[in-house]
């Protein structure tokens, strides 16, 4: 009689996604390209913020956007109007982007331009405070948005999202005078679950905090793409761009 066997794997449950995410990141690194994954609940202001940031940062950073949306290309059209290449990724029923979807978006982007000519790739995720937190897409940095209209309890209700973020943007601060919300309490709850992240108050309407936010973005771009350079413009990749292979 054969005894039952047992293999101890200790393998990441999301190993298949993680493998593809690591593959994407390898390409970003080869292209010396910072990838930022922007996440929030629906309506927190991701697209409005990107409209402002793309327009402001375009003077010194070459950028493109992978735009995740469940059903429409409305956000992609808004961002394309800013003059930045945008690849829409329509997820259908999926409530988050995964690494394979982003890989597919990269292949479409490669048909339009050489990614090595870019400094920064934005991934605007599907509006959702739960699922995107667990699915890496190959990003170097995760940014979570929380609008003041959502209330101060969301970091406690959706702690994984805010724990995972490198930077949390408190958006729509121009509305604070009209709301019974204490922004200090929102900040305290963010820092309770993630004391190490950067927290910036911003308003895409009034422009409050955008300089700080853009300063953070530029600093991450330098740190990831040109870590040896202390000043000056970030270097571009000069090597031939590797072709992307979907694994």
């Amino acid at each position: 009689m054969h005894m039952p066997l047992q293999d101890t794997l200790g393998l990441n449950l999301l190993a298949a996604n993680q493998h593809q995410a690591d593959h994407n990141r390898d390409h970003f690194n080869a292209w010396r390209l910072l990838c930022i994954n922007v996440m929030s609940s629906p309506g927190a202001g991701k697209t409005s913020l990107l409209e402002r940031s793309l327009a402001s940062l375009a003077s010194d950073l070459a950028m493109a956007v992978l735009e995740g949306d469940m059903t429409t290309q409305l956000d992609a059209q808004r961002l394309e109007a800013v003059g930045v290449p945008v690849v829409p990724i329509t997820t259908g029923r999926a409530c988050h982007l995964d690494a394979a979807m982003v890989s597919g978006g990269l292949k479409l982007l490669q048909q339009r331009l050489d990614p090595a000519s870019l400094d920064l790739l934005w991934v605007e995720n599907v509006g959702n405070l739960v699922c995107p937190a667990e699915f890496e897409v190959g990003e170097h940095r995760k940014v979570a948005l929380l609008s003041v209209t959502e209330g101060d309890d969301k970091p406690l209700k959706y702690p994984v999202m805010f724990r995972e973020a490198h930077c949390v943007l408190i958006t729509k601060t121009d509305l604070l005078p009209h709301l019974p919300v204490e922004v200090e309490r929102i900040e305290a709850h963010i820092r309770a679950v993630n004391p190490r992240c950067t927290v910036i108050r911003v308003s895409a309407s009034s422009g409050e905090g955008l300089d700080s936010w853009h300063g953070w973005v530029r600093a991450q771009q330098r740190a990831v793409c040109d870590p040896k350079a202390s000043t000056g413009s970030p270097a571009r990749a000069s090597a031939a761009s590797p072709s992307l292979v979907l694994s």
Binding site: H2, H96, D98, A192
Partner: protein, 135 residues
């Protein structure tokens, strides 16, 4: 319903694991997972999607055992461990410090696979939940 995508990842890993035993096809009894409570995974949803996903596949009838791992934090002020409470904003009860270090609770892991390479071995369905669903 991200548990669907998580199940898809799990099946891909299981198919890769199966290939390691080629030309034999291992007969799997149970797959053991570790899922932390500080993740976005609902274990019951994962069981439901697993039962649906394995129907008609080489894993049909295989039990999925999910060990839940509690969230435990370490207070970086006094070095003591504690169970963070959302009602207390996850702060340490000893020093009222934010949740800086997580000791456990972020696990999303395929821990082990119970199987046999002997086709004569009698494997009865192992997971009562899976068995109930099959009925």
């Amino acid at each position: 319903m991200h548990e669907v995508d998580m199940t898809r990842c799990l099946l891909l890993s299981m198919n890769q694991w199966k290939q390691r035993h080629a030309p034999h096809t291992p007969r799997v009894r149970r797959v053991h997972l570790q899922v932390g409570t500080f993740t976005c995974v609902e274990p019951q949803q994962l069981l439901t999607t697993w039962r649906a996903a394995v129907q008609g596949s080489w894993l049909e009838g295989v039990g999925l055992v999910i060990d839940t791992v509690p969230l435990v934090g370490r207070c970086v002020v006094c070095n003591g461990t504690y169970k963070p409470d959302p009602g207390q904003a996850y702060r340490s009860p000893c020093c009222d410090h934010p949740l800086e270090e997580i000791v456990s609770g972020r696990e999303l892991r395929i821990r082990s696979v119970e199987y046999s390479l002997d086709t004569a071995t009698d494997f009865t369905p192992a997971n009562p939940l899976t068995t109930a669903a099959a009925v």
